[in-house]
Subunit: 211 residues, 2 copies
DNA sequence: TGTACATCAGTGAACGCGCGTTCACTGATGTAC
DNA sequence: TGTACATCAGTGAACGCGCGTTCACTGATGTAC
């Protein structure tokens, strides 16, 4: 008799099971797809449930309401946002300015790869921006930025210009990201992709270099 | 017999008239209030009609749908946006850099005074961004920016750096505006109002000065 | 190891709500004569 | 100047829709014995 097939791993797709077993993360993933396709304004809890292959009442067991789900999604977004910056930084030169520029490019990468999520995090009132988890994630991203600025300009701390330098760096990266996502900045967008990258890098390097 | 009261001016409020007479601009004004109070996500055509004191079917005679109304409102927003920049510029020193900094401060003024309208113009998919009028208004704002950059750095044109300099200026002002509206940039927001202004001016001047 | 039972994740029908849209209408205004 | 009429801005009832929420239920899972 041939040996039986090994028991399915827990993670693999059970054909039909009454209980989903892993619904919370599945809902977050579905919410992300819903957001990407319908935008924040067209986002609905029923749509998310449908995408997750689950009845529309199921999410209530994991999230109080749409705000709760969007808040969790935004918090998760901030973690991936920081990851996108780090991904650029590992490929960049190790001097402080190059690292800061790389963080800015990662900021822009994230926004362009996940425009609706980016807007959810920065330009929407739908998430609960007072939520503990969301605040913590957002503040971690913020703290990383300040660290990177400090690394690029070790004098700033003593000179008392760190806050202004951080604001400049943040605003420059954020402005580029937000305008690109909105399809503005035609002077950059009309160029081929590779040229866009070097142009953005030049703009950031120019704008972030210590004086 | 005492003389009769003079006939009411057309503009004054007729107590009850079947026809509104001036509904289109009244709807735009009502839409702006609706937007300010409910945000883009809570915006409804019925709410606007109610604010304008008119039946919910009336707007259809002036705007095809909510998109049409929001598109017209965004276009109007861009005109006021430019006006806010000019208002700052008339009070500023006349050298090119001061004028560019003033434009940036006006950019921020507008965003903070009309946050929901600002987001409608830059971070929402609800208006029809292909609309002729809206495009024209947005492009006029854009053209003004490039002019101001040229004024602040007359060398840029010949050096071929105008596009990058314009992108930098736009991104910096936009980033500051968007982050302030979102309640981020705590390092700026926690200061008293007057200090915020001088801090923003310093950040802009520092970031926009030619190298 | 087997049985009974508590727990709770997920179901699906039902609800009320506000939305945009439609449509026959009403009545104010402007124009032709 | 007065009358008839066309125009069209605004009305309000009706509609269908998708939404979030509720609730009695079903059935899988884990635990006590």
């Amino acid at each position: 008799m041939p040996s039986r097939p090994p028991p399915r791993a827990k993670a693999s797709r059970q054909p039909k099971s009454y209980h989903h077993g892993n619904l919370r993360p599945a809902l977050l993933a579905a919410a992300e797809r819903e957001l990407a396709e319908h935008g924040i304004e067209g986002f609905s809890l029923r749509g998310v449930a449908k995408r997750a292959g689950v009845s529309h009442a199921a999410p209530a067991h994991h999230f109080a309401d749409a705000t709760g789900l969007l808040t969790a999604l935004a918090a998760l977004g901030f973690e991936r946002f920081v990851a996108a910056q780090k991904a650029r930084q590992t490929k960049a030169a190790t001097d402080g300015l190059s690292q800061l520029v790389a963080a800015g490019l990662g900021y822009i990468d994230f926004a362009r790869a996940h425009p609706a999520l980016f807007r959810l995090m920065f330009s929407s009132d739908r998430p609960d921006h007072g939520d503990r988890t969301l605040c913590a994630s957002a503040e971690a991203a913020m703290a990383k930025l300040v660290d990177d600025v400090r690394g690029a300009d070790p004098q700033a701390d003593a000179a008392g210009t760190l806050a202004d330098r951080a604001a400049t760096a943040w605003a420059l990266a954020h402005g580029l990201a937000d305008l690109l996502v909105a399809g503005r900045l035609k002077m950059v967008l009309k160029r081929p992709a590779a040229e866009q990258q070097s142009s953005l890098a030049a703009i950031l390097r120019q704008g972030l270099a210590p004086r």
